[in-house]
Symmetry: C2
Subunit: 358 residues, 2 copies
């Protein structure tokens, strides 16, 4: 019964069993050339006969690196993973990380506190996504000496970051609707994760909003502030958003949605309201996630290179991690409007739409 709880063997156990010092065991694994070949292999034999594996945490402590990069988000992971956008982004992140031999650690608020979560995160660097650069946590991370790269943040000059041309994309989307004759347009935005920083003008939401407004203004359309509603960035969020718009009595002919996941929800809500898309209602998304071309009808949307965004962020981060002294670099990726079947000419008479819903 001495087998009770077979304690994990430590390096000292191996050393004792092999009749050598801890140093020798360490050498056998990390610099075998510093040992006589037969000694090294004997030690290794003993080691794996004992089932020894170096304790990763102890190793991290001495080597001062974790071979892990963190992905930090201000929302709960359970909410961001519900948006396919994040899956695709993670795909890019994972691709670059794996190539360089890094694992991925997702960091989200712990008991409501991002700071607390960061304190427990053992990473060599962090990709911060969707957090405004003046957020206190960001400063804290910098102070802790952890390299970071901002993604989809309000640009801060002295921090490396990756962003896309949100404003240009949004503007193209808005112009597209206007050219089709739409005049009554509603914008569905992404709800801020926390009540604070709600309309951070530098954030993604702010930039897209400016783009939409610019596109509308260019054609002489003035956007009523009440025509901007927000909801969580998910299918469900888009669904309830359009229903809310309708129940408030608004009867737009076109909807600009800041995320494809939400746009898919909008499509569904439209069907539930008895609206045909695009005959009664035109819908434009943002992101161009994989499924957008397969939904019914295929979604007109603003394409952004999601995977490449993730990849770029990681490469940028690792370049900082590996050679600390670098000028902060900003990468900017392009967007472009992709016209599919969810948009069409505005209905002739607004009344038509009303009648449909009766």
């Amino acid at each position: 019964m001495e087998e009770r709880t077979p304690r994990r063997p430590k390096i000292a156990d191996v050393a004792r069993a092999a009749g050598v010092s801890k140093t020798a065991v360490s050498f056998a694994f990390n610099s075998p050339d510093r040992l006589a070949p037969e000694t090294a292999s004997r030690i290794r034999d003993v080691a794996d006969s004992l089932g020894y594996r170096p304790h990763p945490v102890a190793r991290m402590l001495t080597q001062r690196q974790t071979l892990t990069i963190g992905v930090l988000t201000p929302q709960a992971l359970s909410v961001i993973f519900s948006n396919p956008f994040f899956g695709a982004f993670s795909e890019g992140v994972a691709l670059a990380a794996e190539q360089e031999g890094y694992a991925l650690h997702f960091i989200s608020p712990l008991h409501g506190s991002l700071a607390r979560a960061m304190d427990h995160a053992t990473v060599d660097g962090v990709v911060v996504v969707g957090l405004s650069a003046d957020h206190p946590e960001v400063e804290q991370i910098r102070a802790a000496g952890v390299p970071l790269v901002m993604v989809d943040s309000s640009a801060l000059q002295d921090l490396p970051g990756v962003e896309i041309d949100d404003e240009g994309g949004a503007r193209a989307a808005a112009e597209h609707l206007v050219v089709l004759g739409h005049r009554d347009i509603v914008i569905i935005g992404v709800e801020a994760p926390a009540p604070t920083l709600d309309l951070d003008p530098g954030g993604v939401m702010g930039r897209r909003l400016r783009g939409y407004q610019a596109g509308l203004a260019a054609k002489g359309i003035d956007l009523d502030p009440s025509s901007v509603v927000v909801a969580p960035a998910s299918i469900e969020g888009g669904l309830v958003a359009l229903h809310r718009v309708w129940s408030e009595g608004k009867r737009p002919t076109g909807v600009l949605v800041m995320s494809d996941a939400m746009a898919i929800g909008v499509l569904r809500a439209a069907r539930e309201l008895g609206l045909r898309v695009p005959e009664d209602l035109s819908v434009v998304g943002f992101d161009d996630i994989d499924v957008s071309q397969h939904v019914n009808p295929p979604l007109t949307t603003v394409h952004q290179p999601i995977r490449r965004k993730g990849e770029s962020a990681v490469r940028l981060l690792l370049s900082v991690v590996q050679r600390r002294d670098r000028d902060p670099e900003q990468i900017r990726l392009e967007t472009r409007l992709i016209v599919r079947a969810s948009t069409g000419p505005a209905p002739r008479r607004r009344q038509e739409v009303d009648r449909v819903r009766s």
Copy 2:
């Protein structure tokens, strides 16, 4: 210029600055009640004036816990994240993990070796997904004393695990097609991550295959082995799979697909081939991911509670992590067929289908 590389302050620095011992500093953070109140708060003041944060790795080493759980997959993260199924699963995992205050660490083969990846992973437990239980790595993880829960694996009695009724779901899917009059049926399976263990009969793929076969056999249909093709579990994978089937001269009227992501690709391939779904070709998926009801046409599929699967796995894991001495528990979740619009009666004459393609 002494500010060059502002070294991260350590506990000894705080102790010195506050004129106390390291012990006192540690107490100030972890058990303030063991210190005079004013001493404790003075130490804390000094600490955060220095910007001190306990080093997470050092803390892990002494406390013997990382507050992190690992999710281990045999495929590269960049490939599994491309399947929305995994996003939803992660959502469930994240939900349960966050509630208990655990972070998430994704582990995938490092330079081709899962073992090497595990060696670098600092986790309190692992959710192993899609790895057969007799895989050598699994034994290695157990040997390392890391608690684990198997998900979607061939059941192994002495390991805790979460699985779904793959066979029943598949059987229902097959019977559904048969009842609709389909006789020429092709099965599109998920490609094994590695060439080894290709048709692991205990794995998900094997179980679903058995279910399909049982469903067909019950109605007197014998499945030709050549009617089973495999491809990667992604939209793209399904797309090429159906094209391959067609180019091999097969003209099924129904397709049973082992994943919704692939099924979406199949829908697209069908459109490219000039086939109407479901008039010319019926398609049944598996998983019931969120978008499946929004694609064109809405996908008939076998529903499985994806999020709940992730949640259950984590809860099971944490119950093991927290009180080691437990009997291995097996959780089994139900599946059910959801009939939407991608399936319909088999076309009357097979020739019709051929003609369409001409």
